[in-house]
Each structure stands twice: as C-alpha cells, then as structure tokens.
C-alpha cells in the first residue's frame, strides 16, 4: 500500500439490504450532499428519487439520431434511385411519389441509428468504458456485484468532512464504513496499464 496518497478520495459504506441503502441515500440527499452514489447488484426502485436525481438525458441523444436515420435513408434512396440513376419499376415513378416503397428501409435505418445512439449514448453519459476507478481499491467492494449494497461519498463534495460524513453513514446503520484512497493507477484513468480490478485479489 506504499503507493497510496495521503488524502482519501471517498468514503464507502456497506449495507446488507436494498432498503438500508435507500435510506442512506435519502439521508445524504437530505443533508445536502451532491457527489455521492450507490452501488448495487441491480437497479433499485425509487433510488433516483432517493438520491434526488433528475431524469436521464438519454432520450435527447436517441431522438435526433433516429430522425437522422429516417432522413438519411430517404435522401439515400431518393438520390440513388430517382436522381443519380432513375429506376422505373412496376410502373412506379422515379420520384417522391414512390415514397411507400421507401418506408421499410427508412424504418430500419431509423431503428438502427437510434439503437446505436441508445447504446453508445448510455456508455458516453456513464463515462464508460473506464479502465480504473479508486473505488475498486476497496477489497470489500467486489461484493457489490453479488449481494451487498454500497454507498460512496466523494471527497469532492462541498459538504465533505471525514468525521461528520462517517458519522452520518454510521448513523444510518452501515455494516462497515471505510476510507478509500487513490493510488497512482487510479489517479489518471486510462493512462496507466495493468489490470482493471486491482485490489480484488
């Protein structure tokens, strides 16, 4: 542990049930904390409200992408079959009047571009993939993906105070509270190599 810096970067509290985790999030929200998060094996209903989060922005990314798919497909077909090399087939004119035959491809490309936007937009909003995060330095954190529920408070929070924050987390019945330190690996994500989940072994 010699490469650890002095100041902790976050406080990590462990809970056994989703209900306790939800209460802790509410307590932090009501105390005015902003830079905190919960880490759970599955999404918990009501957690967004408990943390005081607004709605996801993802729809604002997907809608323009879907619109682009529809317009792009129309433009492509119109230019290829009606302008660059007009094809008259089945008595259907090489023009806008043949719009019905463009619908299937317009629909498919709308769906395709929207789906790409949904997936990559989600990863982008979440800032993933991410090589390392200091939270993985906690040896207990690995069980977040099994059966434990965690709350983390980051040192960047304006209300951050090691003793007071710790007391608050203990006051909402955390099973275990620990300070997590950054190391040189996690300091600057993606700049240092080695494996993704240091601290697990």
């Amino acid at each position: 542990m010699s490469d650890l810096q002095d100041a902790p970067v976050l406080l990590l509290a462990e809970f056994d049930t989703p209900g306790e985790c939800l209460h802790a999030a509410e307590a932090l929200r009501d105390a005015g904390y902003k830079d905190f998060d919960t880490h759970t094996p599955f999404p918990i209903h009501g957690m967004d409200a408990a943390m005081g989060l607004g709605d996801s922005k993802l729809g604002w990314i997907v809608f323009p992408a879907g619109l682009m798919g529809a317009i792009g497909a129309f433009t492509m077909i119109h230019w290829m079959n009606n302008i660059d090399y007009p094809i008259i087939i089945g008595g259907k004119p090489a023009g806008i009047a043949s719009l019905p035959s463009m619908i299937p491809v317009m629909f498919e490309l709308t769906v395709l571009l929207s789906a790409f936007a949904a997936v990559f937009g989600m990863l982008g909003l979440n800032k993933l993939p991410r090589h390392h995060h200091p939270i993985f330095n906690s040896s207990r954190f690995a069980s977040f993906s099994n059966d434990k529920f965690f709350v983390s408070v980051e040192a960047t929070d304006p209300k951050w105070n090691v003793d007071k924050t710790k007391a608050l987390l203990e006051g909402v019945h955390a099973k275990h509270v620990e300070l997590v330190y950054d190391d040189e690996e996690g300091g600057d994500e993606l700049e240092h190599s080695s494996h993704a989940s240091k601290g697990h072994a």
Partner: protein, 480 residues
Amino acid sequence: MSSWNLPIKELGEESLVGEGVTFRSITETVCRVTENKAPRGWWIAFLIAANFTGVMTLAIAYLFWTGVGVWGNNAPVYWAWDITNFVWWIGIGHAGTLISAVLFLFRQKWRTGINRFAEAMTIFAVICALVFPGIHVGRAWYAYYMMPFPNEMSIWPNFKSPLIWDIFAVSTYFTVSTMFWLVGLIPDFATLRDRAKGKYRRMIYGAVAVGWRGSNRHWQNYERAYLILAALSTPLVLSVHSVVSFDFATSLMPGWHTTIFPPYFVAGAVFSGFAMVMTLMLITRAVYGMRSLVLPKHLELMNKIILVTGSLVGYAYAMEFFIAYYGGNDYELFVFKNRATGPYWWAYWTMISCNVLSPQVFWFKRFRNSIPVMFVVSILVNIGMWFERFVIIVTSLHRDFLPSSWGYFRPTLVDIFTYAGTLGLFFTAFLLFIRWIPMIAVAEVKGVLPEADPHHDAGDHGEHALVAGHAQQPASAEAE
C-alpha cells in the same frame, strides 16, 4: 397509479424463483457454470456440433467451387431449401427479441428467467439464417452488390425490391439484437470479473465489463437505454418477418400473393422461436441445475404462448384456403388444392399435424406442466415450421402456369449437408455461450426477488416515502 411500482407479492403473484433462493445463491448457481470444468457431456455435444459445422463448411466450399447446380433447385423450383432454411432460422430468431423487448414493455417479469438464453439463441439463429442469402446468389463473391455500394457499373440497388428491404431488415435486426444482448450482459460480466480467480479471467471479463461499478447514476441511464432498445425492438421484431414475407407477398405467384402473409409469418416466427427456446431450455435446465431459477411456471407460460401462436398459424392456414376459394381466382385455388392433395401432400399434412394439432394438447393444464410432453411438442413444432416454409416455397413453384414445365423438387446430398451443418453451427455457438457467458441474467433475476424491493422488511416503512414529492409509492403500497 400503475401496478408496475408495486412489489410482486401485492399483485397477488407468487415468487418468480424457487424456495430459498437468495442474491448470493443466484450469483453462485449461474456463475459456477462458467467457472467449473465443462462436464463430459458438454465436450461430447461440442465435438459433434463442431463436426457438423465442418460438414457445412465443406458443403459450402463445394458449392462455391462448382456452382448452385449442386443443389436440387432447378426449373421451375428456383427457390427451395436455401430460402426455406433462411426463413426457418430467421423465424427461430424471433423469440429472443420478443421475450426481451415485447414482454419487457408489458412488464412480464417472468421473462427474466429466460431472456438471456432466448436472446443468445436469436443471435445464433440469425447468423445461421444469414448464411443462406449469402451463398444462394450463385457468385457469392459478388454478394456485396446487395449493399448500396458505389461500383464500377455506376448502378445502385433497386430500393423498390423487397429483397433489398430484407437485407436492411435482417442486418438491422442482427445488429440491434446483438447490442441489446451485450448491454444486458454488462452487469453480469462485472459479476464474473469480481469473482474471477485467475489473471486472464479477470482481464477478459474486466475488459468486457467496461468498468461497471453498479452505480445508480449509471443504472439510471442503463435502464433508460434498455427501455429505449425494447421500444425500438418491438416494432423491429414485427417488421423483420413482415419484410421477409414481402419477398413472397409482393410477387404475383399464386400461393404467395396474399395480404395475410405479414401477420401470419410473424405469428409463425414467434411460434417456432418459443419452441426452440423450450427445447434448449429443458435440456440445459436439467443438465446445469437451473431448476430453482427456471420454474415450471415459466415453462407453462411459454406453453401458453406456443398454444396461442400455433392457433394463430392454424387460423392463417384456414383463411388462406378460404380466400383462395372465395377470391374466385382459378390459379390460386389450383395451388391450394395442389398443396393439400398434390405430390407434396405429405409435406402439407406434416405441417398441419405438427403446427396446428400438436400444440392443442396445451389446452390441458396437465400437459402444459408435463416436461416430456412439452419437449416432444417443441420438437414437433420446429419440424412443422420447417415444413411450413417448404410448403409455401416449393408447392407454389413446382406446378407453375405452364403444365409442360411442371416438376418435382428433390434435395441433393449437398442440400442436406448444408442444412444439417447450420444446425451444427447453431449448437457450436450455443455451447460456447453456455460455457463462457452467464446463461441467466443474474442482475435481472435478482431484481425480481421479493427481497429486492426496498420496502420488503416489515418494520422498514417510514419517513422516506413522504419526503420530497418524488416518492414513487403511495403509503398504502407499503403497508403489507
């Protein structure tokens, strides 16, 4: 107040998992399959499947070397097993997205036990399907001409052709299904990463888990992405087989030129897809001890869907006949009489007995819950659905307008090897999937446990439901 936010127990439903299942036991049951050594049966099945894949490769190599004449297709039956197999595989590939998207939008939470499995099956079935349009074009090295790609003849694809719509529909379907599946896998890969003992497992699962740390700020966008993908995939899954049916319905062939085709094809696709999920699920559930996560209730619900879609398909068969009679078109009526009583009568009646008659046993609860019965019916349904496509394609073509050109299609060995080989390809991919990837969606199944509800504990109600106007549940929902 929608019932979506209410805990399952208050909807009057029983638990969706077996007795004594906990968060930890779900992780353990599903993940250990990928961590323990593969059982001997896995290796035997894998070697057989891999050999079949090899046979397919050789059959396709011979086809490329010699030409499509190695198949039984000839005047007047220019489409035969190639398109039959394509449509059959695409149909099987419909259950996955139906389960993951349509049932998700309808809040059918029982889908969590089977969705991963069905989505994987979808992707592999679509891969098998995509083999056929690629190789049936004769000179397969020009298959890229199907895409709108600038070429030396300065000519573009004809976008008024349903065959081009098909290219876009099937490739979009494959891409979107794969993305949907991979998004669902991210949290489960994180579980495997966090359990990994060896360095390579940790690196590989760490890479595919993209640094997932279960953050609620991430879950929020993740769930929204999942919802949007489900909303996009629902019309998509209906469009794909509709577009496949346009390949036939927009032609002027008697027997193909009918408006009932799109809904009829979609119902058939869901029917065969559920049957294939059932066949595979029954085997893996028994072999890998997943009985506590895939309950008899799941199987019974699937049997009900098989019964509904099978009856829809039966209705379509009857309606086609009625319209052929009522429409007053001699050629149309001839094709349908010829289907049922002509040289291919055996194929037609195999189709009717497998698709329409065999699922009717599911009207009885005893048979809906009998594993041997559902196993046999699921296999019969897939045989029947293959014959359905064969009947539609071959019987409509083999006696065309000019009696002097009538013929009788017989498959060659190369036809048979290619088809059997795609079954090998499917099972090879499937066996690799159950070996390396969590076959049940761990995070989603945890989410439907009663304990997953934050208000599960009796003494746990309280202040938080009243705070801040965003509280999602009324106080009455919390009282038990």
